[in-house]
């Protein structure tokens, strides 16, 4: 079943148009990676899907329902969570409070969920009552993932989860992403680290100039001759 579908999405910042009609599709339980050169519109696509940027033309469907132009709050309520690339924790709140903020719109008792989520990330669990501003880069990324999981989303949008992390941390973050996916959450991530991310993805899209360039399974993209050209060149 298709969880998320974006059809011919056109969007941008203010007057400037960055996406000129991009389509992606995410099936249930999939990891989908979006790669492409700088300025191709990868992050813009995520932001538009999540309702942070207005969708000028095209449609976004989530779970078969048209959610074009809905606000982030609505998206979060429907079960889509988004982790921005940077500044993705509240630095002056403790780890625990960060997670509570992740569950802000939940009306039920979310305390068991906090324990459950923290169990996934042992080294964040250790620093449960420290302020998030004092965590290391990798721990922050973990916390950001944990925060997004608090709503038990059916799909997670990740904007460059491995950006500016040390290599061993990158590995750890990717393994966590795989864990999350195995628990049944579909994942869409935008990545610069094409090789590593495509390795663990089911499918991938390559964007260039705000348009779809290539799509296929993770392996097929890695083997593709044109992939080198598309990713390295514009």
């Amino acid at each position: 079943m298709t969880v998320l579908e974006a059809r011919e999405v056109v969007s941008g910042y203010g007057e400037v148009e960055i996406l000129h009609g991009v389509s992606i599709k995410v099936e249930e339980g999939e990891i989908v990676t979006i790669i492409g050169p700088n300025g191709a519109g990868k992050s813009t696509l995520l932001k538009t899907v999540f309702g942070l940027l207005p969708c000028k033309r095209g449609k976004v469907f989530f779970g078969g329902e048209d959610v074009t132009g809905k606000s982030p709050q609505v998206m979060a309520r429907k079960g889509m969570c988004y982790v921005p690339q940077s500044d993705n924790v509240f630095p002056s709140l403790t780890v625990q409070e960060n997670l509570e903020m992740g569950a802000f719109i939940r009306r039920d008792d979310y305390r068991p969920k906090i324990e459950e989520v923290l169990a996934l990330f042992p080294d964040v669990l250790e620093r449960r009552y420290t302020r998030a501003g004092k965590l290391s880069g990798g721990q922050r990324q973990m916390l950001a993932l944990a925060r997004a999981l608090m709503l038990e989303p059916s799909i997670l949008l990740l904007d460059e989860p491995s950006a500016s992390l040390a290599p061993n941390m990158v590995e750890l973050v990717f393994s966590k992403i795989l864990d999350i996916n195995r628990s049944g959450v579909a994942i869409v991530m935008v990545e610069q680290n094409a090789r590593e991310s495509l390795k663990l993805s089911h499918r991938g899209y390559i964007l260039a100039m705000g348009q779809n360039r290539l799509e296929g399974t993770g392996e097929s993209l890695l083997d593709n001759e044109e992939m080198g050209k598309a990713y390295l060149g514009g």
């Binding site: 007057e15 400037v16 050169p37 700088n38 300025g39 191709a40 090789r195 100039m209 890695l222 083997d223 992939m227 080198g228 050209k229 990713y231 390295l232 060149g233 514009g234």
Partner: protein
Amino acid sequence: MTVLENLMLVPGEQLGEKLWGPWLLPFLVRRQERAIQEKALEVLDFVDLWHLRNEFAGNLSSGQKKLLELARTLMCDPQLVLLDEPGAGVNPTLMKRLVAAIEELCYEKGITFFIIEHDMDLVTRLCNPVIVLGEGEKIAEGMPEEIKADERVLEAYLGGQYQ
């Protein structure tokens, strides 16, 4: 600021940049302004932004902004220009123009370019010696054809195990 003003800002040591300049020596300032404007328009013509000279720079597309940035550097008669990813986010039409502009500047005016870029098309077309960096080290150096054949370069870009 309009595109033209952006360029006219660049030259240093302008007499009119002292507040007393425009008050006490308007004629000299005017002459200087004319010269600067002429040069700015020439540079704008060169990068094909002349028709946008009175447009606000904020309204330009990102590709046009790249051209404007190049134009800004040209305003101070450089001998060496450093470009950080000139090709990123530029559409093919503008890219052609950019490449043509760089070529002309390089071969006709003798300006040296030092370009950081990951678009191999652009690199092959423009650059004579290419230096490839990977994980903080120099991996290879040479002409584009040599580079393209280099094992380690291919590995650094796409991962050796898939080649």
